[in-house]
Symmetry: C2
Subunit: 207 residues, 2 copies
């Protein structure tokens, strides 16, 4: 399978291609992709060459064709059923996020412990009690969970998800998880963007 | 200044060091840092060698010393005054995020257009009207803004921020910004984590 750092870059190229398509741009170059992904144009060409010949020398890449190819390579052609664990502020902001469906991520269900949330529907998604996790994961064939519970509840929720058969978790809680065997976790940290901005401003003032 | 891809990796090393310190671990190796940052141990050593000698060959790195060094290199020793633009679900989740203060990001103010939010205090932060932006940015010496407005309002809000003197923006809205000259924007896309998880699950099933 593909080295993890390469996967991260392919995901960024895919995002760049989507914003180009939104603007009606049909061709792009390794320079365009490199700028957004913060790597060299050489690295872009090397990444893409790993999977075959996509562009034409000197004429760049077809935005649609390359995007379709990357969807295939990354396994995004299929639909993934997603659940949100912890339907609070962050969870409900994610439920409403317009790009979710665009990439075949189908939000099927949400889970919470607060009695006043259980049994409601938020952004079109039913909110179940955590104790219903095993049967609802089976019913909706959930493969991936977005974990948006407070830090102290994250590890226990992870173990409940693994026991229910969920194999992928995107962890928004501020604690590091120790996932059970066979469960793949990706941690999200919005602060990385803040730190990059502060570095850019810092570098400007100290030049 | 440092190449942007290197900045991204240093930010990840910093996050790893913080989680190690939280667990009381005092020494670490380039292998540990490499695993989290999804790069080779050689790349970690190369990145850190760029800035001087930190570790001792064979004995790894001191967690505290390296973390302090990285804070200095990335300009995180100083405090940054931050404002949230759009105090909705995502904005208020960010306002409450415990790690913000840990890295010297001081949340000073929030801005919104909804009359029922203006004049309130959320997570200890005063919510002002957007039309007060210039005077409140000066009053609180705001340098960085977290943009959590709906996509269609993001570009106009960016221009208002630039006119008020804000030089750094972390863009959470799902639209691509065209920032005025001299404004540094970092786009955040949580879907990248979802795509990496789906790739990991896809690669497992097709091996
Ligand atoms: N990764 C980031 O950059 C980032 C940014 C902001 C917030 N966060 C984190 O996201 C998480 C959620 O933040 P928020 O502002 O939405 O909080 P919130 O309090 O608004 O929402 C939390 C929700 O989880 C539910 N809950 C609590 N314990 C639970 C459990 N054991 N199982 C299921 N549901 C449970 C609560 O009832 C509530 O609905 C926090 O951990 C916060 O630190 C992360
Ligand atoms: N980047 C990501 O990964 C991610 C994830 C979830 C949501 N989002 C995005 O974040 C944004 C906010 O999402 P949300 O769920 O918090 O929405 P929300 O509707 O709950 O909050 C938006 C807030 O912005 C205010 N607002 C609207 N127009 C404004 C303007 N011109 N100036 C100032 N304030 C304004 C509204 O009054 C409201 O309080 C959306 O663009 C959404 O797509 C991004």
């Amino acid at each position: 399978s593909i080295p993890s750092a390469t996967v991260g870059r392919l995901v960024t190229y895919l995002r760049v291609l989507a914003t180009l398509a939104d603007r009606g741009i049909v061709r792009t170059s390794s320079d365009d992709l490199a700028r957004e992904a913060r790597v060299s144009a050489f690295q872009v060409r090397k990444d893409l060459a790993y999977f075959g010949r996509f562009g034409t020398r000197g004429a760049g890449y077809d935005v649609d064709a390359l995007s379709t190819e990357l969807h295939r390579i990354l396994g995004l052609e299929r639909a993934w059923n997603v659940a949100i664990i912890g339907m609070g502020r962050l969870g409900s902001a994610l439920a409403d996020y317009p790009n979710m469906a665009r990439y075949n991520f189908c939000l099927q269900a949400a889970f919470d412990v607060a009695p006043e949330k259980v049994g409601t529907v938020v952004a079109g998604v039913p909110v179940y009690a955590m104790r219903e996790l095993p049967e609802r994961v089976r019913e909706h064939d959930v493969q991936v969970a977005l974990l948006t519970v407070p830090g102290e509840g994250a590890q226990a929720a992870t173990e409940a998800l693994a026991a229910a058969g969920v194999r992928g978790i995107v962890n928004f809680a501020s604690t590091v998880l120790d996932p059970p065997e066979g469960v793949h976790v990706e941690a999200i940290d919005f602060l990385a963007g803040l730190k990059r901005v502060s570095y850019a401003l810092h570098a400007e003032t100290s030049d």
